[in-house]
C-alpha cells in the first residue's frame, strides 16, 4: 500500500472511529441523563435536554477529528505530507486523541450543566413546598 492510499484509507477509517468514541460516551451516559431529565419539572425543557444530548457529545467527537490538520509548520505541500508513513500514523493518533479529549471537555460541560439544572430544580421544589399555590 502506498502512502497516498494509506492516507485515504486511514482518513476514512479514523473518522467513524472518532464518531464511535462519541457514540460510546453517549450510550454510557444516555440512561442516567434521561433519568435526570425525567425528574425536571419543566416538560418542554426536559425533551429539549434529551434531544440535545446526542449532538452535545457526538459533535465534539467529530470536531476533535476535524480539528487535526495534516499541514504542519514545515510540511505544507501534499507531496511532503505523504512522504513519510510515520507522519501519517502520528496524525491518525492525533485525530483519535483529539476526539477523546473533545469528548472529555463535552462531558465536563454536561456535568456543569446538569449541576445548574439540579440547583434550579432544588429551588423550584423549595418554592413549591413553601408556596404551593404559586406553581399552579
Amino acid at each position: 500500500m502506498t502512502n497516498e492510499q494509506y492516507l485515504i484509507v486511514s482518513y476514512f477509517c479514523v473518522a467513524p472511529v472518532s464518531v464511535g468514541i462519541g457514540f460510546v460516551a453517549y450510550l454510557w451516559l444516555r440512561g442516567p441523563l434521561r433519568g435526570i431529565a425525567a425528574t425536571l419539572p419543566w416538560k418542554g425543557f426536559r425533551e429539549l435536554l434529551v434531544r440535545l444530548f446526542p449532538a452535545g457529545i457526538l459533535l465534539p467527537a467529530l470536531l476533535g477529528f476535524l480539528s487535526v490538520s495534516y499541514k504542519g509548520c514545515n510540511i505544507r505541500e501534499y507531496d511532503k505530507i505523504i512522504a513519510r508513513r510515520e507522519y501519517l500514523v502520528s496524525k491518525n493518533q492525533e485525530q483519535i486523541s483529539a476526539s477523546l479529549v473533545h469528548v472529555v471537555w463535552a462531558v465536563f460541560a454536561w456535568c456543569a450543566l446538569i449541576a445548574i439544572f439540579l440547583a434550579a430544580k432544588r429551588r423550584f421544589d423549595l418554592r413549591d413546598k413553601s408556596h404551593p399555590a404559586a406553581s399552579e
Binding site: T39, I96, A98, L100, V104, V107, L118
Partner: protein
C-alpha cells in the same frame, strides 16, 4: 511485536489500569456523597459514570497522542524511560481530572446544600 509498539501498548494498558485504580477506592464514598447531595438516583449514576469516563477517555487521549518516542535497537532501560515518560503524561492528566472534578463536586455541594449533615 516491534519494541516501539510494545512500549506504546504498555503505556496504554498501565494508564487505563491507573485510571481504574484511582476510581475504585473512591467510588463508594463518591456515591454516598452524591446520593446525599444530588438526591436524584439517576444523577448519582450520571456523575459516577461521568467520572469514570473522564478518567478513561482522558488517559487514553494522552496515551494515544503522546506515544513514547522509542526506536528499535535501543537499550532496555531506554524503553523503560519511554514507558515512564508516557505514564507521566497520563498521571498528570489524572491529577488534572481529579482537581476539576473536585471543584465540580464542591460547587454541587455548595449549590445544592445537603440538609442532613449529621
Amino acid at each position: 511485536m516491534p519494541p516501539a509498539n510494545a512500549t506504546h501498548l504498555a503505556v496504554l494498558v498501565i494508564s487505563i489500569a491507573l485510571a481504574v485504580l484511582v476510581y475504585l477506592p473512591i467510588q463508594r464514598n463518591l456515591g454516598d456523597l452524591l446520593s446525599r447531595v444530588v438526591a436524584v438516583p439517576a444523577g448519582v449514576v450520571f456523575y459516577r459514570r461521568c467520572f469514570l469516563l473522564l478518567l478513561i477517555f482522558g488517559v487514553l487521549g494522552q496515551a494515544v497522542a503522546a506515544g513514547p518516542d522509542v526506536k528499535p535497537g535501543l537499550h532496555f532501560m531506554e524503553y523503560v524511560w519511554g514507558v515512564a515518560s508516557g505514564l507521566g503524561d497520563s498521571l498528570q492528566y489524572i491529577f488534572l481530572t481529579l482537581a476539576i472534578y473536585l471543584v465540580l463536586v464542591t460547587i454541587l455541594v455548595a449549590a445544592l446544600k445537603p440538609k442532613d449533615d449529621k
